[in-house]
Amino acid sequence: MKISELKNYSYKLNFKQSPVAVNIGAITGIDNKVDEFVKHRFEKEKQTKLQLLSSAVYDRFTKSCNAKINEIEKFKQPYNKANMLKSVASSYYQGGDVEKAGVILAQAFNALDKEEPYRQNEIKSFIESKENKKILEDFFYCSNNIKAKYFVMKSLNKLDNPYYLPIAEAVCDCDSQRVAPNDKKTIYEAKLFLNRYYDLNMIYSYIDENDNYKIGALNLLSKWGLEKHQKLPQKLFDDENEYVYAKARQTESNLKRASNFIDIEDDNFEPNRLLPEKNEMPDRIKLLKYIEENKDRDVDINSIKQLGQVGITIREAQAVRPQKDKQYSRYEAAKAEAFLKIVLRGNIKKSYL
């Protein structure tokens, strides 16, 4: 080889030293031995370790699940709580304790949140159930516990559902066939509830017809009216009929004192009334048919009053409407009161009749 070629060769090869790693472990076979040793030891301990690990994972799952279960507040949703209270009320009712059933059902209504999302239909059928109505009707029939009745009526007023208006009406009417006597505070609460739905100012348009309407209207106002309705009796202060005048004075004073009552502190109430064998609302269709068929002669006053308690349609209003040309009589005035009740309940304007 020529020197010149050698120079070129050395240039190409580049004699700069690079480090060479010598793996002693691999050369001596120690690495393999270590691997084998580790493998052996690992296999030996693997099962125990695996069990420990998986039970730890399982424990973690179970613990977190149980924590979730324990943390569930079943009654965080008002509907669930109300439902539970309703079940309690039902079982008291079935056991014959109507008073507790009524009180607890009212508390179930208090527990409800009517705006609870996704539950609107459930809540509606929860409130408007026949069983509930029966419990509360029987409660107001039996109970002489003034405090309990005030509590239940206040809850119904707060619930603000027209389904229970008939109960409030019976309380306002002091209808002994349907409710045991109530105190003024409860009656006032029932009046507030009624007046959310019935516009008593509608009565104004009817009182000019004759004395029967005037007396009927005054009687109804005494029962259902609030302080704000004093204007109507005042309008009759210059009436020619002395009886109407006296009634108007009396009604005005009743309305003035509507919310004037004293709290009862005594908890000793009279024993509760026993439930009648049949305590049902009168049948509207039968009543209407009976009154219409016997229109030419005086139908018994009780049927007129009963239709006044349940009627809602124009036809029912017409059936009990007092005659225009008749002079004042208790019978005709009772018809006027029943007529006005139906008008208010059905929101029937004079022009419809």
């Binding site: 695996l50 709580k81 539970m84 405090k147």
Partner: protein
Amino acid sequence: MKISFKSQTDNLEKHVNQLMRENYAALENDVINNCSKNIENKYKSEFDFKLRKVENMPGNKDLVSILGSLKEAYQQSGLNKDVECIDNQIKKLDLQA
């Protein structure tokens, strides 16, 4: 020529422990991922079912809440004897809890 030694054969114990650790780490990772998945697949629906069932079965805390409501209603209704009974019940449940 520079020569470097890749492994320290005189420190075998350290080497072995390191390898064991590496293997365990891999095993742990494997078990936690797969096991969790398996458990979830196997028991999740069962758990959800249990959860739904429990929602309708009141525990002590729930009973206290219901009894509290009853107490309030009875208090306002003048049913004083029943209020006392409920107070005793609530105390009992509180003790149990």
